[in-house]
């Protein structure tokens, strides 16, 4: 990787933070995502990889390339996590590295 990936950011405001450890794996994002069942992975799984510190797996996932940035996941997330923002980070790294 060219630059270190900064995903885990502590919560700053009430809206749209990207603290991945706030994710409780409820699956709302996956259910409402328009592309999640096309690829093998889903937004929930990608966040799980990140929680397990498996950043490589998350960046390599074919799902991140499919993400259309429709923001539905961010809008649905009961924990207020900016899921689409995380995907945006990952897709950039995906195309830089693979």
């Amino acid at each position: 990787m060219t630059e270190p990936l900064q995903i885990h950011q502590p919560r700053s405001g009430s809206e749209g933070h990207s603290d991945i450890f706030d994710c409780v794996q409820c699956g709302y994002c996956s259910a409402y995502c328009k592309v999640s069942f096309i690829s093998e992975d889903s937004p929930r799984k990608v966040i799980r990889f990140l929680q397990q510190d498996d950043i490589d797996k998350a960046v390599k996932s074919s799902f991140v390339t499919l993400c259309k940035q429709c923001q539905t996941c961010t809008w649905m997330c009961p924990q207020g996590i900016d899921v689409a923002g995380i995907m945006r980070h990952l897709v950039r790294h995906h195309f830089i590295n693979y």
Binding site: S14, C26, G27, Y28, F37, P78
Partner: protein, 803 residues
């Protein structure tokens, strides 16, 4: 007593002569016997021997001793026994002074012989000085009313009312609906026994029905709560029923002739109804009600009620049909009345979270077969009553039911807390559904199944005996042919396998959450009670769970937070128990209340502003006066008063000041700092005491004085202490949010700015005063803090005023 100088008896209690091994008690006795007004000075090795206390009694009578100083270590129980024995010879319980050598680090026996003797003498002299200032005190009695107002006649309010009536108290039960029962009356079953709640309400009503102590105010709401514990004046407003409750016999002839048909239940269940009335439960339960109908939700009082707003103009069919002439449709205005009560109980309950706010998620209000869990209860109860409503609105005979948990709860965009009952409610509903329709196929979408306590058994039973599919994950809901679709398609990621699941359903139940009732929020506003972040009533959840910030107003049931029916009943019972003490006809008040010295007071009103319980009022001369029935005796007024005009009895500023004066002569070497620690008796003092009990190395430098709250320490006392050469003053309170008097610990920090200015003019470093927050278990931390503090005081050097 009177003008005679007080005569003091000094007793050193030394069981097993452990104290004599540490301190030369003979030297102490010799020195103390020379102090003025000390008549008797003795060492008793075993105070609990048969003759000991009797001898003390005799000595007290012979020498006309009127106050006693006890040196040693005593439990609260032992103090009480000694006080009672000496009360027999006329010594007021407030004329004892307890000098605890354990608390003052002496009993640890660490330090040289000289310092131990010096410190022992110092603390005994402090106790003697305070003893000279003690006053005999007796509790005061205030007149009080013996009736109580209960706001909300849900299951909690009914049970509370029943407990009061069983104790012979008069109860005014105020209910906004036309009948009692609240939300529980809308349920089909309630757990854990899964019986019919109508039966449960009937059972508690048995006590209420036959009592002449109950006054039920239906269609009413409180408008104002004035006054204090023992003597509240509650104004309530009652809407007219248009039916005389005494005359009406509930025959129902009026209902039969009424031409108006209104959709049933919809408005009772949701404060915010779904978008279209024909959808949701309105579309499911085709039954209607008339404009004149029996009390809802539970038919008590057994009188009908007219919804006048729905009546057609000029219609008096019911008035004509009534055989008992109970109906009067002439224009009537809402009635207001004042009720005097000793206590007020708020059991204002909960409202269902408006599921229409979730319409984008799950289609509530858009599809006829998406309903809330309270509507499901209604449906189940109608079906089990034998009504021929189809369970599923679809044309074909469907049998697939889905449940989505946490609909609105545990979501930062809706209710951030867990509503705690919905998981068990879903399990309960599935169980009943299975008995009514054994072929029903249920799927539950959940995040965590939270079945607390014994409810877990219901959950296990359901998992093992029936074909219910539990899916961990939340689905996306789509109707198959919107907008009038009769089948729902749900797509969901099973978060265990990571695979998508597609399900077709005929009925979808959203397990909606609980939010505080609108009526509760209104009551909080009019009575000036604080609400927590979620708009439930604020309270000290562990120590005084049912008490509110206003003494005499108690809260119970779901007004305090989400709870199930049985927890709610328990909570109401506890609240009723707490309220009983205000309903005795008189209220007894401990004599340790604050007294304002009007000669010193400059009417600045700081006390009025800062009192955490808002108990100060100005009298007709403009001086503040505490309302003793409201006062919780925390002493924050004593701490805040800029002119030291307020003292609480038995811990007056004078009593503290004379103790501090004794510390003018240090019992340690010149270089060793002396620290005076004022510690809150709830937390910090207990932590310090447990440090001593554990035998931790608590430095000899510290002298402990217990105060009811850290906020009771006046800046003048601190300045006094520093000006006579004490090197440091420590103020120990609770952690933020844990103070038993709301914010006493924060008030200390608030006025530290004033203190710093004052100290600078005295040329004393402000750092000599430290405040700390200590939890009750933090004995080790207390010792570390003390050691660091001593180091920093040593670095500063001795106090400039030290002799």
């Amino acid at each position: 007593m009177g003008t005679n100088p007080p005569q003091i008896g000094l007793y050193i209690i030394d069981p097993g002569e452990t104290l004599a091994e540490i301190v030369d008690l003979q030297a102490v006795i010799q020195k103390c016997a020379k102090i003025r007004q000390v008549e008797v000075c003795e060492v008793i090795s075993d105070i609990w021997a048969e003759q000991s206390l009797q001898t003390v009694q005799e000595t007290v009578t012979e020498n006309r001793i009127d106050r006693l100083v006890w040196v040693g270590t005593f439990t609260a129980q032992q103090k009480k026994t000694i006080q009672n024995v000496l009360l027999e010879v006329g010594v007021n319980p407030y004329l004892h002074e307890w000098c605890d050598l354990q608390l003052q680090t002496i009993a640890l026996g660490k330090g040289t012989e000289k310092t131990l003797l010096g410190k022992t003498l110092t603390v005994i002299e402090m106790a003697l000085a305070r003893a000279k200032q003690l006053q005999p005190l007796v509790p005061i009695k205030l007149p009080a009313s013996d009736s109580v107002v209960v706001v909300g006649a849900g299951i909690a309010g009914l049970h509370a009312a029943a407990s009061f009536i069983e104790r012979g108290k008069r109860v005014h039960l105020v209910e906004k609906q036309s009948g009692v029962g609240g939300k529980v009356a809308l349920l089909s079953r309630f757990y854990p026994l899964l019986c019919n709640p109508q039966c449960g309400i009937e059972y508690v009503l048995k006590t209420l029905r036959n009592s002449d102590k109950l006054t039920l105010h239906t269609l009413s709401k409180p408008l104002a709560v004035e006054g204090n514990a023992g003597n509240f004046s509650v104004t309530i407003q009652s809407q007219p029923r248009y039916v005389d409750t005494d005359r009406c016999n509930g025959c129902g002839l009026c209902s039969n002739v009424c031409p108006v048909e209104l959709p049933i239940f919809l408005d009772n269940i949701q404060d915010e109804p779904p978008f279209q009335e024909a959808k949701g439960i309105g579309g499911l339960i085709k039954e209607t009600r008339r404009a004149i109908h029996a009390s809802v939700p539970f038919s008590f009082p057994e009188s009908f009620v007219v919804e006048r707003a729905s009546c057609p103009e000029g219609c008096c069919k019911c008035e004509d049909a009534c055989p008992t002439k109970a109906i009067d449709l002439s224009e009537q205005l809402p009635a207001e009345q004042n009720i005097t009560a000793g206590a007020v109980l708020a059991t204002t309950g909960w409202d269902p979270y408006p599921l229409s706010r979730l319409n984008n998620y799950h289609g509530y209000g858009q599809h006829a077969n998406v309903i809330g869990n309270l509507e499901m209860e209604q449906l189940l109860s109608q079906i089990s009553k034998g009504s021929d409503i189809p369970l599923f609105p679809s044309e074909g005979d469907g049998n697939r039911v889905g449940f989505i948990q946490c609909s609105g709860s545990r979501n930062t965009k809706h209710l951030s807390y867990c509503s705690s009952v919905c998981c068990s409610a879903t399990i309960k509903q599935i169980k009943q559904l299975k008995t009514l329709r054994p072929d029903a196929k249920c799927t539950v979408f959940y995040q965590d199944m939270r079945c607390n306590g014994f409810e877990e058994e219901l959950y296990r039973e359901l998992r093992s005996t029936s074909d219910v599919l539990f899916v961990r994950g939340f689905p996306k809901v789509e109707a198959s042919n919107p907008p009038e679709g009769t089948k729902l398609t749900l797509v969901c990621e099973d978060t265990f396998s990571g695979r998508p699941i597609t399900t077709e359903l005929d009925l979808l139940v959203l397990a909606g959450g609980m939010q505080p009732s609108k009526a509760g929020v209104e009551f909080a506003e009019l009575s000036g009670l604080p609400l927590n972040d979620h708009n439930f009533f604020e309270g000290h959840y562990q120590c005084y769970p049912e008490e509110s910030q206003r003494t005499g107003i108690l809260t119970g049931g779901c007004a305090r937070g989400p709870m199930n029916a049985s927890q709610s009943i328990e909570s109401a019972g506890r609240a009723a128990m707490k309220a009983l003490k205000f309903l005795e006809g008189t209220i007894s008040i401990e004599p340790t209340y604050p007294v304002v010295n009007q000669l010193k007071c400059d009417q600045c009103k700081r006390c009025v502003e800062e009192c955490p319980f808002d108990c100060y009022r100005l009298n007709d001369k403009g001086f503040p006066e505490p309302d003793l029935s409201k006062c919780r005796q925390c002493g924050n007024c004593m701490g805040i008063c800029p002119v030291s005009a307020i003292s609480i009895n038995h811990l007056t500023l004078k009593q503290l000041a004379v103790q501090i004066e004794i510390l003018e002569n240090s019992f340690l070497d010149y270089e060793e700092p002396i620290i005076l620690a004022f510690l809150c008796e709830n937390d910090a003092l207990v932590a310090a005491r447990s440090a001593m009990d554990k035998g931790l190395n608590v430095p000899m430098n510290v002298i402990h004085i217990g105060v009811p709250c850290a906020g009771a320490v006046n800046n003048a006392l601190i300045a006094d202490a520093l000006s006579i050469g004490i090197d440091g003053v420590l103020i120990g309170g609770c952690k933020d949010g844990q103070c038993h008097y709301i914010n006493g610990n924060q008030l200390v920090n608030k006025r530290s700015g004033d203190l710093a200015d004052k100290l600078k003019t005295m040329r004393v470093e402000p750092e000599r005063v430290q405040s700390l927050s200590l939890e009750i278990h933090e004995a080790e931390r207390y010792v570390t803090i003390l050691e660091d503090y001593i180091q920093s005081l040593k670095a500063m050097g001795p106090s400039p005023f030290k002799l």
